[in-house]
């Protein structure tokens, strides 16, 4: 506290802005993770405890590509990242597709069982990453343009990778919005999730809808993984560190609401990042979690909820 009193008001403003922008990186990763989970958990009611591992997979794909490029085609380094994002999505999507066929499709009306089964899945995926890539942490070589920071005024440094992440997250939210709420396919998805039998009866191929929806959610986690490499190093358990936060973000937002997910990711990431400046990181996290739990007790339906009769 004395520290804060000592600093001038302008400095304080800069600190807030900087912590705010640091929060934006966290916000972007939370949002990308939560976006996929909002589809899988919010829409499909599958408690996917392996969601974090799809992030890990996406991150490893990015790291792998970055090594390939630095070793074999260093000239391509500035351009590889967009390709990596697409690859991360595709790999996670395919993996999700397989998981749906092999496991999740048997458990749709048993939500709590999906929790146990996907926990098993997450153990397997983690070990697979450990066997393939080793237990050490690994980092992607970032293109030069992503490093460094932008200083619009003196004493204020805004990291470029943070802004890139933010832009990526916003683009994905818009895409998901159009896909889920403005396209014919999205209509099919929502119909299937609300009443599978009825949707089947009116001629929707619910099985294929399930598969693609689940895979899409996993693919989004893959993108989150690619994004993650810009702010941290990857290890087999990287994704599992985010799983609790991600569930809290989705639940806090109101499970089936896209706007809720965005608001909740923003609130949680920002309050955590700003509190982190005053407290230790761990304490900030505890404060935020306790706050979220208390708000959830007052509003069990989350921030944004549609009023429906239960």
């Amino acid at each position: 506290m004395p520290l804060i009193l000592a600093t001038s008001f302008a400095e304080l403003k800069d600190i807030f802005l900087m912590q705010g922008f640091a929060g934006f990186s966290l916000f972007a990763v939370f949002l990308l993770m939560a976006l996929g989970l909002a589809i899988i958990f919010g829409q499909m009611k599958v408690i996917n405890m392996a969601h974090g591992e799809f992030l890990t997979v996406g991150a490893y794909v990015t790291v792998f590509l970055s090594h390939m490029v630095t070793d074999h085609a260093p000239k391509m380094l500035p351009y590889y990242f967009p390709v990596a994002i697409v690859c991360a999505f595709v790999v996670a999507f395919i993996l999700g597709y397989i998981v749906e066929i092999g496991l999740v499709k048997y458990l749709y009306n048993r939500p709590l069982d999906t929790l146990l089964a996907t926990w098993g899945l997450s153990m397997i995926l983690q070990q697979a990453c450990r066997s393939i890539f080793g237990a050490r942490e690994d980092t992607a070589t970032l293109p030069d343009w992503m490093m460094g920071s932008w200083s619009p005024s003196e004493g204020l440094d805004i990291p470029i990778n943070g802004m890139f992440l933010l832009a990526l997250a916003i683009v994905m939210v818009v895409l998901v919005y159009f896909l889920m709420y403005r396209s014919r396919w999205g209509l099919k998805v929502r119909a299937t999730m609300q009443n599978r039998a009825m949707a089947g009866a009116v001629g929707i191929n619910t099985k294929s809808v399930d598969r693609i929806t689940f895979a899409l959610g996993c693919g989004l986690a893959g993108i989150a993984g690619a994004a993650f490499t810009t702010i941290g190093s990857v290890s087999p358990s990287a994704g599992s560190l985010y799983i609790v936060d991600t569930f809290i973000v989705v639940v806090f937002g109101g499970a089936a609401s896209l706007l809720g997910t965005v608001l909740s990711a923003f609130t949680i990431a920002q309050s955590q990042s700003i509190l982190e400046f005053f407290l230790t990181g761990v304490l900030a996290k505890i404060f935020v979690l306790v706050g979220v739990i208390i708000i959830l007790m007052i509003r069990p339906q989350g921030l944004i909820a549609s009023k429906v009769r239960k």
């Binding site: 009611k45 408690i47 405890m49 496991l103 048997y106 458990l107 048993r110 939500p111 709590l112 069982d113 929790l115 146990l116 089964a117 926990w119 098993g120 899945l121 997450s122 153990m123 397997i124 983690q126 070990q127 697979a128 450990r130 066997s131 609790v244 569930f247 809290i248 639940v251 230790t280 761990v282 304490l283 996290k285 505890i286 979690l289 306790v290 979220v292 739990i293 959830l296 007790m297 007052i298 069990p300």
Partner: protein
């Protein structure tokens, strides 16, 4: 007497199951396992307390808690605090060397010394007394469960949401315990526990005694569970799981009933935690975080979420599997364990108990009919061979 037989023992089939478990716990394991393995078994059994509690609140009441480690942990930490204070007193007193006396503060746990804490924090005071410790072992976790339960169930937070929130709470507990090093021993936990009321718990005979003590308490918990399931409360639990609103509109306070059973499960877990500390001699935050809490649910799922006895076998088998696989196949055991969870939820939603119910009678019949056929066939075989011989 007759009602007691039906209630606590669960009639004929229930008694057989319980008798088998008693034979396994009191005869088979003590006779077949060496001291090291028996002590390990005590550890597994201390997890079984949680699984038995989960059968009540999850399998029957439909309340899935992913934070049972919280209660198990608080029970364990309370016990550990008592043992640690005793150890702290003795070390300084026993030690002949002035050097050690100079380095340690009498009655202050070593990790407090390392963290520059000079006098015992107030919350450690009650753990100077054994009776008070025993009360707190139960009271702290149960009170916590009561607070969590009342807050959540009053607000109608249930199902998946309850599961996720309890998981988050568990995590909060872990990180607070890790960061509050001076009070809790931080990431290492409370270690180097030696005696309980002067009785050295590290000796072979103590460990055997403790094994039996753990088993007896576990059986007691099962009997309590049986009793609860056999009375009206048990049927209300199932009713709540299947139709909460109907129960509410039959005039029951659903939130109070849920809180009650959640507290019972918490108290059982706490008992397991305390016994764990006595058996193993330490407590650490790694044992109470998210992952162990999910394991506890998995014990229950593997054993059969509706079966009190199944839960015990589930806890033993999964824990044993975990130890065995990780010793034998350090690189593969995650695959094996993960695979087991997937297979169990996919093919045996009622776990071992369900499989026994489904295939047990069939298997029994097969064995019986095989015995029967053998007896029938025996006289028939002889004439046939004779005939064949004659035809020759």
């Amino acid at each position: 007497m007759h009602t007691l037989y039906n209630r606590a023992l669960g009639g004929k089939s229930g008694t057989v199951g319980l008798a088998l478990l008693c034979i396994v716990l009191f005869l088979v394991f003590p006779l077949s396992l060496d001291n090291f393995r028996l002590n390990m078994m005590s550890k597994y059994l201390s997890y079984a307390f949680v699984a038995v509690g989960l059968v009540l609140c999850w399998g029957n009441g439909g309340i899935l808690s992913l934070g049972q480690g919280l209660f198990w942990g608080f029970g364990g930490y309370c016990m550990a605090a008592f043992l640690k204070l005793e150890a702290a007193h003795n070390i300084a007193a026993e030690s002949g060397s002035d050097q050690i006396r100079a380095l340690t503060t009498v009655g202050l746990p070593d990790f407090m010394d390392w963290n520059q804490i000079t006098s015992l924090p107030y919350i450690w005071y009650p753990f100077k007394s054994f009776p008070l410790t025993i009360i707190l072992v139960f009271l702290v976790p149960t009170l916590l469960a009561y607070i969590i339960g009342t807050a959540m169930f009053k607000r109608r937070v249930g199902g998946v949401y309850f599961a996720l929130i309890t998981q988050a709470l568990c995590w909060i507990m872990e990180i607070s315990f890790v960061t509050r090093q001076g009070w809790t021993g931080g990431i290492n936990g409370i270690t180097d526990l030696r005696t309980c009321l002067g009785w050295d718990i590290r000796t072979k005979s103590a460990q055997i005694t403790l094994y039996f003590l753990t088993s007896i308490f576990l059986i007691a918990c099962i009997l309590v569970g049986r009793f609860i399931l056999s009375i009206k409360l048990g049927r209300i639990l199932v009713a709540m799981r299947d139709g909460e609103d109907r129960v509410r509109f039959s005039g029951y306070s659903v939130s109070k009933l849920k809180t009650f059973i959640f507290c019972v499960a918490a108290a059982m877990s706490a008992m397991g935690g305390a016994l764990f500390v006595l058996n193993v001699g330490f407590m650490s935050p790694k044992l109470v975080t998210i992952e162990p809490s999910i394991y506890m649910v998995i014990f229950c799922a593997v054993g059969g979420r509706n079966s009190l006895i199944g839960a015990v076998y589930g806890a033993i088998l999964v824990s044993y599997g975990k130890t065995y696989f990780s010793e034998m196949f350090p690189n593969l055991w995650y695959f094996l364990m993960g695979g087991v969870f997937i297979l169990v939820t996919r093919f045996f939603p009622d776990g071992l108990a369900g499989a026994v119910d489904r295939f047990g009678p069939m298997l029994g019949k097969k064995i019986f009919s095989m015995i029967g056929r053998a007896q029938q066939n025996f006289p028939a075989v002889v004439p046939v061979t004779i005939e064949a011989n004659e035809g020759h």
